[in-house]
């Protein structure tokens, strides 16, 4: 706990985040009163909603970091739970999936975070993709309903892979033993989250400002080539500028940021495709005020596992 507060670079990084958030909140407030057309108002409202969510995330994140590794595991465990709850609510399941879903929520998910907390490296990496994914289809089959069997098994497997397995790689960063970086892993986690979230919002902002050529208009009308390039370049620049908080050189930090941005974009694209398939625009809209977590973390779910493995392979013991 004391360690986290005495990590000057972590305090700087965190202070920087708060500063940027304060500035954006001010700009958001000013723009809210300026813009009169419906389209621009929607954009501003979207940005302000993101800013409000980030304030909360920042507060929770700071608390988690101060508590330490257990705090971060609990925080990400809760995010996993809320995300999977949204996902399973909106993805059609049948009566025969009930017990499998119960296992997914109350056994597999807590077990995954428990394994990380206990530093069972190999088991945490294979528990869901190997064990859970072998367990899920027979546990559905035993309920005796064959209607859409393959789809149902795949939907549950995908949900648990994205919402639990992939996301759990973010707090798993705190377990890495990087020579010369001991005790500073919280910075690495914050770095991942900041670059990922900034990439998300900068792609959105660039897209709104100069976006013309749609990347996959059927999947997401908001994703344009201009937004993608602008967002990725500016978020990568930001990530590069944060190299001092990481174990990377500036060039390595640029590469890592670029990878986080591109994977994050893919995460958003895949989740948009799922939303179109189910017939909703946001995971949050159906359950106003309670939802929307999956909309915020889809990019993180795709970036975290690969970021972890790259850092593990090249930097950690």
């Amino acid at each position: 706990m004391i360690q986290a507060i005495h990590d000057a670079k972590l305090v700087w990084l965190y202070g920087g985040v708060l500063f940027v958030l304060l500035i954006s909140a001010l700009i958001g407030g000013i723009l809210k009163n300026r813009h009169r057309t419906d389209a621009s108002r929607t954009t501003i409202d979207n940005l302000n909603a993101r800013i409000r969510a980030w304030w909360k995330m920042c507060a929770i994140f700071a608390t988690a970091v101060v508590i330490g590794r257990v705090g971060s595991l609990i925080l990400f465990g809760i995010i996993s739970f809320l995300a999977m709850r949204e996902y399973m609510t909106l993805v059609p399941t049948r009566r025969g999936d009930h017990r499998t879903l119960f296992w997914s929520f109350f056994v597999i998910m807590p077990l995954q975070y428990y394994l990380i907390g206990n530093q069972w490296y190999i088991l945490f990496a294979i528990m869901i993709p190997v064990l859970a994914c072998i367990f899920i289809p027979p546990s559905i089959a035993i309920a005796g309903d064959t209607e859409h069997f393959l789809e149902r098994a795949s939907k549950i497997q995908f949900g648990i892979m994205v919402c639990v397995y992939s996301l759990s790689y973010a707090p798993a960063l705190l377990l890495l033993k990087i020579p010369g970086y001991e005790g500073h892993d919280a910075r690495l986690l914050l770095y991942l989250v900041v670059v990922d979230q900034m990439s998300d919002v900068l792609q959105y902002v660039w897209g709104q400002l100069i976006g013309k050529h749609k990347i996959a208009w059927r999947v997401s009308p908001n994703k344009t080539w201009e937004g993608f390039v602008g967002g990725v370049v500016s978020a990568t620049a930001l990530g590069t500028a944060l190299w001092w908080a990481t174990p990377f050189t500036p060039l390595q930090s640029a590469g890592m940021s670029l990878m986080i941005c591109i994977l994050g974009f893919n995460g958003g694209l895949v989740m948009s495709a799922i939303k179109r398939d189910i017939g909703i625009k946001d995971f949050g809209v159906v359950v106003e005020g309670r939802g929307g977590i999956l909309d915020r973390i889809d990019s993180l779910c795709f970036a975290a596992p690969i970021f972890y493995h790259l850092v593990h392979y090249y930097f950690a013991l």
């Binding site: 009566r95 109350f106 359950v287």
Partner: protein, 219 residues
């Protein structure tokens, strides 16, 4: 009956709200202390607790469920929950009004209506599931006639339709362990029996009123 909320009832309400993540919408009316009969679709054991927990506490203290005697008096735990914790009104499930023994059904029915009217008294409200049993949650089944007779007996009481959505996936019939998905509860516009309205026409209108509150629709 006392107007005190049993602590176990408050605890169960909090748990049910947590598990069901219910989002409540008063679409057709506002919460009100006047006497009402809340009637809703039925697909889960959580239905009553979730609906009850959505009411403000002053109203909650005076709102009682109707429980089927054959089921809820079967074990000591069920009896404790319904009788002591939620002050339920026990009813014997009669045969549906259109059965072979229409004559007999009518007789039992009249007795039940009196019991419900008595439970309403001068200040209580009731929660009623007119389908009479838990369905699969896919569609709202036909209503039994108790709602109509009770409404005719107590024309002063407002009938408030409500739709509970997704609870059939959270705790379906026959399961004991819940899956914590999100659910929706929508209260609709209060109904009354129209002058000269036939029983079947009213019951169908009431069923429609509940079914029309569905927000997401069949998956």
């Amino acid at each position: 009956m006392s107007n005190q909320i049993h602590p176990v009832a408050s605890l169960l309400a909090a748990i049910a709200r947590g598990i069901s993540g219910v989002q409540v919408q008063w679409a057709g009316c506002e919460p009100d202390e006047r006497q009402r009969i809340y009637f809703a679709n039925h697909s889960s054991h959580l239905d009553f607790v979730v609906l009850w927990s959505a009411l403000p506490s002053e109203i909650r203290a005076r709102t009682r469920p109707i429980a089927a005697k054959d089921y809820w008096e079967e074990t000591p735990l069920r009896r404790y929950l319904t009788k002591n914790v939620f002050h339920a009104v026990f009813l014997e499930r009669g045969s549906p009004s259109k059965g072979k023994h229409a004559e007999e059904g009518h007789f039992v029915g009249r007795h039940l209506i009196e019991e419900m009217a008595e439970a309403l008294g001068t200040e209580n409200s009731l929660i009623l599931f007119p389908e009479g049993t838990r369905g699969t949650g896919e569609k709202v089944g036909p209503f039994r006639s108790g709602l109509y007779h009770l409404a005719m007996r107590r024309l002063d009481v407002e009938l408030v339709p409500a739709y509970l959505e997704n609870l059939n996936r959270i705790l379906p019939k026959g399961e004991y362990l819940p899956v914590p998905m999100l659910s929706l509860l929508t209260f609709g516009k209060p109904l009354h029996v129209e002058p000269h309205e036939e029983k079947d026409a009213f019951l169908e209108r009431a069923r429609e009123a509940v079914a029309s509150l569905r927000r997401i629709g069949p998956a």
